[in-house]
Amino acid sequence: MSKKIVATTSLAGCFGCHMSLLDIDEKILDLIELVEFNKSPIDDIKVFTKQCDIGLIEGGCCNSENIHVLKDFRKHCNILVSVGECAIMGGLPALRNGIPIKECLDEAYLNGPSVRHNHKGIIPNDDELPMLLDRVYPCHEIVKIDYYLPGCPPRAELIWNALVALVTGDELKLPYEVVKFD
C-alpha cells in the first residue's frame, strides 16, 4: 500500500497545534512510516507538488491570504481536518469579532498604550500585505471541512488517533480525556 500524503498549514494560529502534533514523541517514527508529507511547515515544502489525501488546518481565517491558502488546501486535499479551536471557531484571534475593524486598527497602530513611534499616524496598507477580514472566520464557514479535532491545542493523542484512523480506515478512538476545548 502506498503511503497516504498529508499536508498541513497554520492560518491565523500560533503553531501550537503543530507543536502538539510533534508531542506524539517517538511515535513520529511510526508516523513517517505511515504517511508522506507534502506542503507543510514540517518539511518546509511551500507549494503543493501533488494531490494529497489529508490536509490538517490549524487556525481560522483572519485575512485574504488565509482564505487563499485554505481554498488551495481544499482543492489539493481529499479530506480536510480543522485542527484546534482557532480553525473550529476562530479561537483567540476571534476575540476581535464584534469590534469594528477600524477600532481594532486604531487601537493597534494609533491609540494603544504601547504605540510609541508612529508619529505620522500610519495604518499599514501596502499592496503586499494581505487584507484583514471584517472578522475572523472559522474554516468551515469558508470551505467544506470534513472532520474536527477540538482542543487548544488538541491533545497529541487525539491528532495521532485521528491520523491513524484516517490512514487505516479503522474507527477513531475517542477516549473522554482527549477531547477538550482548552
Binding site: 473550529i88 483567540l92 476571534a94 476575540l95 474536527y148 477540538p150 477531547v179 476545548f181
Partner: protein, 232 residues
C-alpha cells in the same frame, strides 16, 4: 409517610418517592438526566431544556416534572441526545465562549456537557455578539460574553432578608444579568463565593482567584459530568 411509585426510564424499572422531580428520581436510581439551569434545593425553572425527556411519548423538562406512578420515560435515546446536543451548540454560538482563555474552563458545566455529548463543532453559524465585561463590583467580575441566562444566580442568591441581588435587565436578545449596585456592593464573601460557584459557566468570577487548580485535576478533566449520578 411518603408513597413510593414505580416508573420506567428507558425500559429500566425504577422506584422513587411520589412527587419528586424526574431529575432527582432518576438520580436516585443511578440514571443521569443532564441539566444545566437546574440547581438542587432551588425551585426549578425549566429554562435551558437540556433535561428534556419523553414522558409517555411527550417532551417534558425533567427538572420541573414530578414523578407519578407508571410513567414511561425515554432519556438516553439518539433523538433526545441530539436535541440536547443542539441546545448546547446553540449556547456556544450565541455567546462568546473562548474556552482556552476562560478561568472556568475544566470546571464549566456547559463545556462539560459539550464534552459528554461530543460536540466537535457547532452545527450553527457563530454570532460573535459584542458584549461587555463588568468589573464594577468589588468581589465579582461579570462577563456577559459567557452568560447563558440560566437565571441560577437570580434564583439562588438572596440576602438574609430575602432580597434579590441579581436581576434581569432589558429584553430579548439584549437580555442580561445585572447586580444590584447597593446590595451587590455590600455582598458578603460567602455569598459572593456562592454566586461564583453557582454560575455554570465563567460569567461570574471571583477576583484574584483564577487558575487555582492545574490542568488535569479540574472537575471535568478526567470524568464526565453526571458520573456521580451513574455511580449511585
Amino acid at each position: 409517610m411518603s408513597t413510593l411509585v414505580n416508573f420506567k426510564i428507558d425500559g429500566v424499572d425504577c422506584l422513587a418517592e411520589a412527587g419528586i422531580y424526574l431529575v432527582e428520581a432518576a438520580a436516585e436510581n443511578g440514571i443521569y438526566i443532564p441539566t444545566l439551569c437546574n440547581i438542587q434545593g432551588v425551585k426549578p425553572r425549566g429554562a435551558c431544556r437540556i433535561c428534556t425527556v419523553m414522558v409517555n411519548g411527550r417532551p417534558m423538562t425533567a427538572c420541573t416534572t414530578p414523578v407519578t406512578m407508571g410513567m414511561e420515560i425515554q432519556n438516553d435515546t439518539p433523538e433526545i441526545n441530539d436535541i440536547r446536543k443542539a441546545i448546547i451548540e446553540v449556547l456556544f454560538v450565541e455567546g462568546n465562549h473562548f474556552c482556552p482563555s476562560c478561568e472556568k474552563s475544566g470546571c464549566c458545566e456547559l463545556q462539560a456537557l459539550a464534552y459528554r455529548f461530543r460536540v466537535m463543532v457547532p452545527r450553527f453559524p457563530f454570532l460573535f455578539p459584542r458584549r461587555e465585561v463588568d468589573a464594577s463590583n468589588p468581589k465579582i467580575i461579570k462577563d456577559h460574553n459567557r452568560c447563558i441566562l440560566c437565571k441560577r444566580c437570580i434564583r439562588a442568591i438572596k440576602t438574609e432578608d430575602g432580597k434579590n441581588i441579581f436581576a434581569y435587565k432589558k429584553r430579548g436578545i439584549e437580555l442580561e444579568i445585572i447586580i444590584d449596585p447597593e446590595l451587590g456592593g455590600k455582598i458578603t464573601d460567602e455569598l459572593a463565593q456562592k454566586s461564583v460557584d453557582i454560575c455554570p459557566v465563567g460569567a461570574l468570577l471571583p477576583r484574584e482567584k483564577a487558575y487555582q487548580v492545574p490542568i488535569g485535576r479540574r472537575k471535568y478533566d478526567i470524568e464526565p459530568i453526571g458520573i456521580e449520578d451513574e455511580k449511585k
